[in-house]
Symmetry: C2
Subunit: 148 residues, 2 copies
Amino acid sequence: MDNINKKEFKNTFIKCIEEKGLRHTKQREVIVDAFFSAGRHITSEELFNIVKKKYPEIGYATVQRNLNLLCKCCLAEEIKIGKQKTRYEQKYGNMHHDHLVCLKCGRLIEVNDDKIEKLQEKLAKKNNFTPIKHKLEIYGICADCKSK
Amino acid sequence: MDNINKKEFKNTFIKCIEEKGLRHTKQREVIVDAFFSAGRHITSEELFNIVKKKYPEIGYATVQRNLNLLCKCCLAEEIKIGKQKTRYEQKYGNMHHDHLVCLKCGRLIEVNDDKIEKLQEKLAKKNNFTPIKHKLEIYGICADCKSK
DNA sequence: AATGATAATGATTTTTATTATCATTTAGTA
DNA sequence: TACTAAATGATAATAAAAATCATTATCATT
Ligand SMILES: [Mn+2]
Ligand SMILES: [Mn+2]
Ligand SMILES: [Zn+2]
Ligand SMILES: [Zn+2]
């Protein structure tokens, strides 16, 4: 079932690059594969190191560029926490969610709250503001770090 | 009445640097003054340009350093939106608030919603997470940009 | 299969924001 | 006044991400 999702993810990517008149390459294949399989919230550097194992000739720039492309295709999303390197989260088939950010261990905990989402809509409307997306991050100490 | 606030702001700063065993300088005086008087959400560069008028010999590094110091004193707070330069918001006497961020003109609209704040606390607690601070940004199109 | 237009790659450089360095000056005190 | 250490200002270093560019690869067309 994970493979079905992966196939869908890759198909969506292929459709997207075709729509843009871009080309299919071995590098893209390997990068998108690795990005889907890797955990959430990966940096370009981490992905580069993974991809290098399958494709040692790959350049960092290619990984970075294709992560940007995945973002344009709405299959990835940038996450910027403080001064850390940008992380990329895979989006396809994943519900929107917000993050609890542990200030001790850096962990990102994914959360969701419908009521908050609704109230945000309301808040925007009250200001005659058309919301497109949002970012909610709660910084603090996670359960694990507290019990240590 | 604005001057009273300014006096309070500056006194808080003076108290803070004395507690830290730091020194009072003409540069600090001018920078803190300008920072308080300037609008919200200023960049270090913008502040530098303002301060230069009163004190042409000032160095950029000094402005940057003192903004960082103001943050340590909890009199300023960094705001990072996308890839923009860090902006600094004055905090003393200002309620916590969140931001609506216009994707067209870049404007930051300050908003507040008690219900959302409460629900965030609840959400954190549900995850056994101790919240310390949070960031909520809603990106979209502001009223002005819509009417143009 | 060969061609040609152009997108993609990989190595490298550039950009840009922020922090660090360091010689010199200055503040605070004894 | 003199001493100690913080602060300053000019500059360099750092680091992440984007841009550049010569070369290679893709793909529609022949
Ligand atoms: Mn996530
Ligand atoms: Mn604000
Ligand atoms: Zn933690
Ligand atoms: Zn606007």
